[in-house]
């Protein structure tokens, strides 16, 4: 039986869980999404305030100082991060959440064993899983952050027998976990913690930078799961609900991305995409098709006299931070009566929906962003690693203009047949510079 204070805390948690769900429901429409994020934040505030009422808490100093420091860090980074660096940011915060879940699990174990009671199998299992999953999520996210921030090389880092070594570490984690559940022992739990930290790093290192969005999404759902497991240990159902909601979200986004990339999740995680197929890719490009170049001036004229222009933004636009420039160009064209639309591939950019955020930042209204509704699976080359991936039918356009700096291959490391298409003109140069030049040329056209 809970006393009055305990009941008040329990009711607050229930309210928080409901607010999390309502917040996510509001996220399903652009017009209510911001309110939804705030609804969830209110739920969070209620839950954390209720926790402070808990009789277990005897000193507030550590909590206050820790929260101040953490909040300052979070708010600073959250306010200043560039929209192009969103994926890194999510990875970093996700790693922190994973670390928290792991540390809380370890601390609960220390507390429960010190009291001397034997821990139940259910609780011990939850602690072991929470520790392991949280730790994997922590180091995995840090490596993903490093790759996306280009502190670490984006190319898959591979060494001989890598899978064997990773398999052994995994077995080690499982064995240590089983030992903790069966016989307890703080030292073993610490060993498990260390092994899981290692596993997280080793697991993400061999995955190419282009696949990081999928990795982050998986790690996000793992952190949610770790939070839910912590909820089982703390007998806190609200934590279970919140954790599971996040887990479901991460799982759905992972499946969605791998569908949009036409690859299985296993292939993403273990395929070392962009490393193994580089031979095939370079041989394909050796066929020696001709590439046709164009100039900003010619492009401006083509655009000015077009009836309809579809802009297909890719990662290059984001990296060059040319979203504002393209928006200005589009406004100019619209002023001339040209119909302008944006067609966005579901995995353009560095995380799902990333391009939409970048264009929204540049004040493009969201009702002008077309989702790719007509996708056309599988085209010319069945031996290509991206064969069957949904593609935008840009080659149905009367003219195609590709903006990039070089004939470089990008993250995927594969040649693009579109560049050699007879309707294609390449406009080499940094995306922002090229677009600025087109804009100037357009003014005088």
């Amino acid at each position: 039986m809970l006393d009055v204070r305990g009941s008040a805390i329990a009711v607050s948690y229930i309210i928080a869980a409901v607010l999390f769900i309502f917040g996510l429901k509001q996220l399903s429409s652009p017009s209510t999404a911001r309110a939804g994020n705030r609804t969830a934040a209110i739920g969070m505030t209620i839950a954390l305030a209720a926790t402070l009422l808990d009789r277990q808490i005897i000193s507030f100093w550590t909590i206050a100082i820790g929260t101040l420091i953490g909040a300052a860090m979070g708010i600073y980074f959250g306010r200043t991060v560039q929209m192009t660096a969103m994926p890194q940011m999510v990875a970093l915060f996700n790693g922190m959440g994973g670390a928290t879940a792991a540390l809380v699990s370890v601390a609960e174990f220390l507390r429960l064993t010190r009291v001397g009671d034997s821990i139940g199998v259910g609780e011990a299992t939850s602690i072991v899983l929470g520790t392991a999953i949280g730790a994997i999520s922590f180091t995995g996210s840090i490596i993903a952050f490093g790759k996306l921030q280009e502190i670490l090389p984006g190319k898959p880092l591979q060494f001989p027998l890598q899978r064997v070594v990773n398999g052994l570490i995994l077995i080690g984690v499982i064995v240590l976990g089983a030992m903790v559940v069966m016989s307890g022992g703080t030292a073993i739990l610490w060993a498990l913690f260390a092994a899981a930290l290692l596993l997280g790093a080793m697991f993400v290192l061999p995955i190419g930078g282009g696949d990081m969005p999928v990795v982050i999404s998986i790690l996000n759902s793992l952190t949610g799961l770790a939070a839910a497991l912590t909820g089982f240990v703390l007998h806190n159902q609200m934590l279970v609900v919140a954790g599971v909601l996040v887990g479901a979200s991460g799982t759905l986004l992972t499946l969605l991305m791998s569908t949009a990339m036409n690859r299985s999740v296993a292939n993403v995680l273990f395929g070392a995409f962009g490393a193994t197929n580089s031979d095939a890719a370079s041989s394909a490009s050796a066929v020696g098709h001709t590439v046709r170049q164009t100039t900003p001036e010619d492009t401006a004229i083509a655009l000015a006299y077009a009836r309809s222009v579809v802009i297909v933004p890719g990662y290059g636009l984001a990296v060059a931070e040319a979203q504002h420039t393209v928006r200005e160009l589009a406004t100019d064209l619209e002023g001339r009566g040209v119909d302008v639309k944006y067609a966005i591939h579901p995995v353009a950019g560095r995380m799902p929906g990333h391009m939409n955020v970048l264009l929204a930042e540049a004040n493009v209204p969201y009702d002008q962003l077309l989702e790719m509704d007509q996708v056309n699976a599988a085209r010319d080359d069945p031996s290509s690693p991206i064969y069957g991936m949904p593609i935008l039918d840009v080659d149905r356009a009367r003219n195609i203009i590709v903006l990039k700096r070089s004939m470089g291959h990008g993250f995927a490391g594969i040649d693009n047949a579109l560049f050699y298409h007879e309707k294609t003109r390449m406009l080499f140069g940094d995306a922002r510079q090229s677009l600025t030049q087109i804009g100037q040329a357009l003014k005088s056209a």
């Binding site: 399903s28 911001r34 929260t67 860090m73 979070g74 928290t100 939070a227 991460g250 799902p352 004040n363």
Partner: protein
């Protein structure tokens, strides 16, 4: 199985259904905010860190609790702030045009 475990399983399963149903309605335009918003929500695990830090009676638990609170708080505050920043930018055509007129 204890009655509490049975009930816990129900909560877990029902939460899975709620999660999939609710999140499958989020359009792909909003997937980046969704990811960072849910990322903030799992920061709720910081409440466990509060309990550890607030009841710590050894230097080790103090240290664990402190680190966990810092990390967890960064996750929560950073996650919500960055999501709010992103969603602030999503505007309807009229809103965008209204703004342009003002400028």
């Amino acid at each position: 199985m204890s009655q509490e475990l049975v009930l816990g399983i129900y909560v877990f399963i029902m939460a899975i259904f709620v999660g999939f149903e609710v999140i499958s309605r989020v359009p792909s335009v909003l997937h980046t905010p969704l990811m960072s918003g849910t990322n903030a929500i799992h920061g709720i695990v910081v409440l466990g860190a509060f309990l550890v830090a607030g009841s710590a009676d050894s230097p080790l638990l103090h240290a664990l609790g402190f680190i966990a609170v810092v990390f967890g708080a960064a996750n929560v505050f950073g996650g919500f702030v960055v999501t709010d920043r992103m969603l602030e930018m999503f505007k309807k055509r009229e809103a965008v045009q209204g703004e342009k007129k003002d400028a």
